[in-house]
Symmetry: D2
Subunit: 361 residues, 4 copies
């Protein structure tokens, strides 16, 4: 049972609401003697932080992380690592609108129906603010994997589609990703995306996105069939991110359209290395990593908080309508990139440790 815990061996538990005093997470199962500094975590948090460009929310949160336990003299001790981020931008906003009305596309209605109570301030627990806590956990997982596997281990995320505008996979330029506010890997599409998104925002609307995350240097053998398959856990991890509605591994949904000979990746030996001609499998066969890049993509639905007026009901069950003002991302998908990377680190470390225990590899 794990309502607010993710992972099986390397486990993190997040807590906190959007407008409570703080959010945080506890990491359990982290190996000892790994060097970790607050800055290692802060670096990843800064990628997710709001207010960094005109394409994301203008809310201001420094998202400063504090290591409260589990690290001694700069090294993990094997005991739980508690990370806290105090909430700073809790300005007394007018919540009256969402206090009594359920925003369409949000979880207002379902939280209220499930729990019979709901912290309505900024969405409370359902807010994407929670994802800061897991980005912090992912930063720790990354440090452990870099220590165990070495520098060949690397996870790279990017936005590959904004609304109806896809990028060209052949133009994938890894270095470019970090140099633009869209995590866009394709230089040629960037300008178009900017124009498109500004237009969307001006119209008081929003749009969806597709994010791709690739993990390199992952050893063969991670993943525990039948019910801890690596792709199960990656799919689950990505689906846990707010607003994600679809997940593909490798060729994903597109694999339905392929024939057997188009889809199955041929295998070769080159020297001592095993080479696959293609990577339709996304680096996973039978739920176990092949040694190729792990490739996952997922769709983030358009931001549900929009200016355009929408029909809805209030707490008393009366029909009404709502228009959500405030500082919202026109495309929440953009900020999902570091979150997807963090979840990938966590899933891979989880399986790395489990495989160590079971198979000793």
């Amino acid at each position: 049972m794990s309502f607010n815990t993710f992972g099986k061996f390397f486990r993190f538990t997040t807590w906190g609401e959007s407008h409570g005093p703080a959010i945080g997470c506890i990491i359990d199962g982290c190996p000892p003697n790994i060097q970790i500094k607050a800055e290692d975590i802060q670096k990843e948090l800064n990628k997710r932080k709001p207010g960094q460009s005109k394409f994301v929310t203008q809310r201001k949160e420094r998202d400063l992380v504090h290591i409260m336990s589990g690290v001694f003299e700069g090294k993990t001790t094997g005991t739980p690592i508690s990370l806290i981020i105090y909430n700073e931008d809790q300005k007394s906003r007018d919540y009256e609108t969402i206090k009594y009305k359920f925003r369409p596309g949000h979880a207002d209605y379902t939280y209220f129906m499930k729990y019979g109570i709901r912290d309505f301030r900024g969405g409370g627990r359902q807010s994407a603010r929670e994802t800061a806590a897991r980005v912090a956990a992912g930063a720790v997982a990354r440090k452990v994997l870099e220590n165990k596997i070495g520098k060949k281990y690397k996870v790279v995320g990017a936005v590959t589609q904004i609304g109806i505008l896809g990028s060209n996979p052949n133009n994938w330029d890894e270095k470019f990703i970090g140099k633009n506010s869209f995590f866009c890997p394709d230089k040629r599409i960037l300008k178009l995306w900017e124009k498109y998104l500004l237009a969307i925002r001006k119209s008081g609307s929003s749009c969806g996105a597709v994010i791709e995350v690739r993990a390199k240097g992952v050893p063969v053998g991670l993943g525990a069939p039948i019910y801890s398959k690596l792709d199960m856990d990656i799919a689950s991890a990505m689906m846990s991110i707010n607003a994600v509605k679809g997940v593909n591994i490798g060729s994903g949904m597109n694999s339905a359209k392929l024939t057997g000979e188009e889809n199955s990746d041929e295998i070769f030996k080159r020297g001592k290395k095993t080479i696959f001609k293609t990577n339709n499998s996304g680096g996973i066969l039978g739920g176990i990593s092949t040694g190729q890049d792990i490739v996952v993509s997922f769709a983030v639905k358009p931001t549900s908080s929009i200016l355009k007026e929408r029909k809805t009901i209030d707490k008393k069950g009366k029909n009404t309508s709502i228009s959500v003002k405030g500082r919202h991302d026109p495309c929440v998908g953009i900020r999902a990139v570091p979150i997807g990377e963090a979840m990938m680190h966590c899933v891979l470390l989880d399986h790395y440790l489990m495989n160590k225990a079971q198979c000793g590899n």
Copy 2:
């Protein structure tokens, strides 16, 4: 930790290899006093059984289920339910080919690299034969939910795409699904699919498919954010099915292309009922069921066992090639329908019970 166990509260653990003496599963956490007969389970198994049409493998397995424990005088007792299906069609086949060579698209290579040993007979544990055990578990979950929720609860699966040929959602005819060997909901596409698949098979190739599973009558409030969200568990469940590479909830990957006002489902009250104008959310918001139909679709990659010759390597690391003969499904996706339904039953019951405990609803 749950390598071969699925679920958190209602849990099933499967065991067995394709050509061992039997396969089976243990169900734990099943409520007591639910009427269940072997026939209830057999009925679901028969839907998955091979050899039922020329479009699936001609292997013969009666897949007779035996209830070994947990049911007394026709009712569950609350203790573990052990189900066994003895393997019958273990004819001494020529496994020499796959004994030393890794079949591309299969998990031969990854199992061997992970475990350093592999039961090569018919794929061993990696065989889709394992799915019979979970179809059995799903039949039990179904009985429990029908008992608890009543007859309005219903799960329907169908094939919505074969290779490049999609069905028309507007032609969805639920009654037609059970009357054709494709679980096809669209009368008008059926003939085309038959021709297409026969051509694929004749050419020694195979194709993929998309399956959709809908659950009706699911109460609002199931799903436990943040890390036991209903869509996480459904995505994980479907991804656990052999050959599945992509999962969509509601609008899924397509939601990336929508605007906020196209995507978010408006809410209305009609009498005492809450009505949603659309169901892009697939019945899930914030990881919690909305009371609408739960809608999931997933892609099954083309069968990897094909006659066409493919490059691969052998156990000693030498380059070679392989052509897989034998009784294989030209489109394994078809038989994934009852498996997807079974996984849906199991996930929903799991969350039904968890919600009972936490929220008392």
Copy 3:
């Protein structure tokens, strides 16, 4: 897997080291709409707090608890409850002694051997300071059970033996327990215990104790055989408390000496009530509560930090000796009473919720 998490459904995860900035816990799986105030938790923490009599350590910690999440407008919301207690008495003590030497009877040696690193300040994670976090969790569990079961539900702990001096079970006076610094239920033994313990302390030594915890008003039917038996979880809970070495349920170890007719509790019906003539079972049969009082007792070994010089080794493996100065409890068992009560609340709530889910009772 649950290194620092206790419980299956109602779960708490503790974190923090003796001399880090804070300790705390996250509670997950708590039902919504339960009234809970910081004072409810503080009240229990105050029972465990050091410095309250001359018989316990004179360390000063106010142990003020802060509710960081999961409670909104005075009620639980069903989301994780984060509780923090900042450490106050971190005075710069001389840790040089224990930095390089392993204290006999403590976990210094085993932590170092396991993790290869150790936060030596005040014992770090191995310190009994961690128990404050679970006392806080227990206070929340208590509130939930009082809400669900009503006021007949009550847990009472007491010290029944100090060193070689047992109390008389026939003199058990529940009201007296809260009125003395020993949690002693037997008025007549108290003076003797005081003299005995003062003598022990003066001699630079320490002594052990036996604690008994009784839970009243527990409904019949809690406990999930075979491997979540109520007595398994209670034994595990009590054994998790620092320095506990033995656990008895009901007649416990003494039951070995009884005959079948002395031991098995005869059953009667009195009106609608089921009555047991005796309670050798401690309220548990087959791992399930009988409806009688749940009775558990456990032994706490003598404080290992003593003035008397003891042989030991240092980190380099050289033979040496140690005498531990400082503010230590001469009998740590006394402060184990509120901890045992807290663990009992947590185990019972865990099973209460699980039973709700499985059996609906």
Copy 4:
């Protein structure tokens, strides 16, 4: 959540009722490439088997184990190991007595109250017959640990007390244990025990026992504080055995009577070896193994099925009485020895694998 599953990483799930067609278990998380034969398991089962001396029940069960999966060509494959034992001695006995009456000391009443239904034939799931399944699991764990640690790893169980008659620890003769029907380690007490138990049986009564289990060659560092402490899991494991009411680690309950200097085990270095002067800790400090012998003892209550008439109630709530005839052990504790050994193997392997994953030792 793990109603019928024991363990965290090396997990076994048992199923089956006393008079159903079979009992069995599924082992998950077993490392691959371990040699295991049915005979390895049978050997341990034979130690537990009924009908082997006049001091145990005369029921006849061959308890033949069948390996149904997870072993290929004599070696584990890393996939689930399914073990089945068919029930043979299901003779049509007169269950009318226990069908309507609740046997005092048994779980008849609690199972019925919890589940609202109960398989009354021979106790159904509550029968100690279930323990055969875990003895089988323990045999597999033993093989793995012998493979990983080597022959210095050894677990020895013995009966140290029968009713009021304790054995002398100074007379502990390990070789003698296997040569008598009592698993008695003390040659000098054996005759007395025989006379005592025959007298008990003749009188239609029964008696309890104390069992001690020692594990040798256990590496330092096993056990995961705070809530997967080695002693927590051992206590829980032993408490899961039918009729166990108390568990001691090392000095156990007796440690309450000791002073700090009597109790804490002094540490020495002899060459490269760490030596402890005494072993009051039972080989565990802070929940982590010290490298000394792990020593646990537990009390088994007297058999509740006795000829002497006892007061009880029936299903309708009427007062009545019962005298249980049939083939019952006068002291069930004796057959608990191989069960205790099996549970010890399972707990140790579980922690061995977890420690591998977390700390790499």
